[in-house]
Symmetry: C2
Subunit: 498 residues, 2 copies
Amino acid sequence: MAGEQEYIVRGGRHLFAKLPEALKDIKTIGVIGWGSQAPAQGQNFRDSLVEAGMTDVKVCVGLRPSSASMNEARACGFNEADGTLGETFDVIAKSDLVMLLISDAAQAKMYPRILAAMKPGSTLGLSHGFLLGVMNSEGAKFREDINVVLVAPKGMGPSVRRLYEQGKTTNGAGINASFAVHQDATGNATDIALGWSVAVGSPFTFATTLEMEYRSDIYGERGILLGGVHGIVESLFRRYTREQGMSDEDAFKNTVECITGPITKIISTKGIKAVYEAVEDKKTFMEAYSAAYRPTKDIHYECYEEVQSTNEIRSVVMAGDRFDRFPMGKIDGTYMWKVGEKVRAERVESEIPLNAFTAGVYCACMMSQIDTLREKGHSYSEVCNESVIEAVDSLNPYMHARGVAFMVDNCSYTARLGARKWAPRYDYILDQQAYTAYDAGAKVDPEIEAAFMNNPAHIAIAKCCELRPSVDISVSASGSDGVGGARMEFKSDKATSA
Amino acid sequence: MAGEQEYIVRGGRHLFAKLPEALKDIKTIGVIGWGSQAPAQGQNFRDSLVEAGMTDVKVCVGLRPSSASMNEARACGFNEADGTLGETFDVIAKSDLVMLLISDAAQAKMYPRILAAMKPGSTLGLSHGFLLGVMNSEGAKFREDINVVLVAPKGMGPSVRRLYEQGKTTNGAGINASFAVHQDATGNATDIALGWSVAVGSPFTFATTLEMEYRSDIYGERGILLGGVHGIVESLFRRYTREQGMSDEDAFKNTVECITGPITKIISTKGIKAVYEAVEDKKTFMEAYSAAYRPTKDIHYECYEEVQSTNEIRSVVMAGDRFDRFPMGKIDGTYMWKVGEKVRAERVESEIPLNAFTAGVYCACMMSQIDTLREKGHSYSEVCNESVIEAVDSLNPYMHARGVAFMVDNCSYTARLGARKWAPRYDYILDQQAYTAYDAGAKVDPEIEAAFMNNPAHIAIAKCCELRPSVDISVSASGSDGVGGARMEFKSDKATSA
């Protein structure tokens, strides 16, 4: 991977035959929660077990009995009659593998009780290292008699489900994942983690640790994946309309549409450097890139260190405690996003402009995020997945269908809180530092230009793309399916496969 | 104070006669640093000692020998020849009262060495509880054989100096302060703290604790004092221009000029409710107030709890460690502030509009800050000084002369970092929640209206105004004096009295 050795496991449906060995001794798999990941991973796992002929292994969903999601789980074929749907702690107590897919806030509150309920020798499965961050900040430790593993798909639940289904007929479709073995009490925790990863359909899985995972994940969504892209388009839309006299519609096309359309498509298929190669006005691209690189990196560093110090995790937990009093409002109702609704309704895909200035700013923010993660010691696999592939293959296509603010409104609480907090920071710093420098005629910094042209990340991204054949995800522009159903409102399998 | 008993000490120049008793055993007063507070407090203290006839007590400034401020200190009459200017640790070691007025970041790094250098039985004097926040987050304690007291003027250094000078001829002019006795090793720490407060010219001084002081101070500058007002005007300027078609100049007059001009004047002399009474369009004021109250309070709560949990203090310390790599840029160069320069140059004070919508939003942000502090247990004295008086009597007049962004660029690092972090949050939440609600025709919430009309804070503010006769601070609009010289660039006494 760009000249470095990394531990990567190729997945694929041909490996389903190995599941009986990898998951030996596991008879009951508890899927706890029904948010974004649980319906997707639960159904994928169940389908894979059928294909592997493992009829004696049950996937059971665990929920609060009063949960509004009970009916959704029933609609997906989980039910009390055959014991595949039950009360949270009952399911935890009988499971050999507990896939803990409730919200970060709920994990932070409930983990002592959850850990206490688990069987000795069972496996706690996480899809996010957040809980370790909470426990670190509280000085708590995991029980020593259980396995603790992680499989973290690099995309939201609906993408995990949709690409798994596409993978039934298209070779290699699926969402990449990372895995980690934090504690191996039984001696076969690695097999269990890799079995889980194969079963939910990851075409490739790379090794990480719980701590590196939560750092890159929490940071990534605050950066280019959600917060960064939101701040960029808000600042550019303001600039193009108010300061440059562009019409609202044209400004929206030259910002959001341009990023979630052509730029995303280029990066997804050919990498970041290909955006530079594709723009006509290379001078403007590079001037914008050069002006935006350091300011966005400044915020990336601040954000990374807030996560690393566990400040950001404490913030998320504190915010959760305020929700009763200050519920999170939607951010999708402002002027710009109303313009966006209209523009999307009249969209002609082939006419979306590839704006060189916008492209320069977006690529600078993505590249400075990649460089920050590398400087902080993350593997190329983690860096490329968290900063590039998750953006262009998972989130941006949803944003293209519904807008950036809508996407933010429909992510997990941790992601929403983070995007709301950091988007305005990227907005302001671009306005205050990058655009002022560009407008004052700042020359391209040759060091920044050379670092972009020769960044080893380009090779790593190409390798990652090769490891995961690019399969287009199809998202409809309205209705109850797609990202709108991704989080609290996640509906049945049927509703997301429209 | 609005029906509650609070411990308040009246200051005044007639009390200079009591200084020999209050400061007995103190022969050397070390003023460490030369930022915003040190030149002001050092000179005020020296002048007061002369008036009190205490010729045997010396005020000595302590600086790094390589400091560029050495010459400034000399220009203010401190010099090596008579021992009133020396190396930091030499001055600390010989002082009976050490007024530690270096930056928060420097305190965080150097406190172990500073504490070690102090004489047994001497007094550590702070003008900010920040250091306690740092020590709390690190689990450190003060030496037991020293006094630890605080006198915190509720205004920046140049105001402390200017109003002291005006106080020589105008009765009651000066900046209010809070005081705290954190540790009393000698039995007379309270006398020392109150003597210091009188000597720097506080017309009244109220009791607090180091912890409540740093909470309200760090929170306050992130809120309405700097971050809040900046976010408000950015969001309103965008709204009035882009969405309502106002000219840039008119929009600037209806936002920044309106707040730092007539609104500030009204609150300074007659309180917050008088703004409502002064606006013609009371319906718009109250609709804007009602729409903006909860969203701004949401951010206030988040900010307060970030400070309370010491997250914010850790953030400031981490940011300090990044300055070499990511120096803080100025924020004053954007489009809006260029408009502002032009508007200020052509200003006719009497023609500045009192915009009802702007007034409603500003008053809502100020009042929700007051209510947050009250709900968190702060005394009315602290609340009124941190949220009202410091704004309208100290900071806003400087902003009126130079703009809001310029003011932010010229505060302490802790304040600048905080304002840059929180201003965009107020901006976005107003745009996303308050203005969208107003535009959708949201009715006035009768509970919010009644709470505004009957808020006991109005009585407390009136009482505070009475305790401190309002003396106008005069600020020139350009040159090297005033706030431009307030921080790192603080020049000699002469330069600020222009």
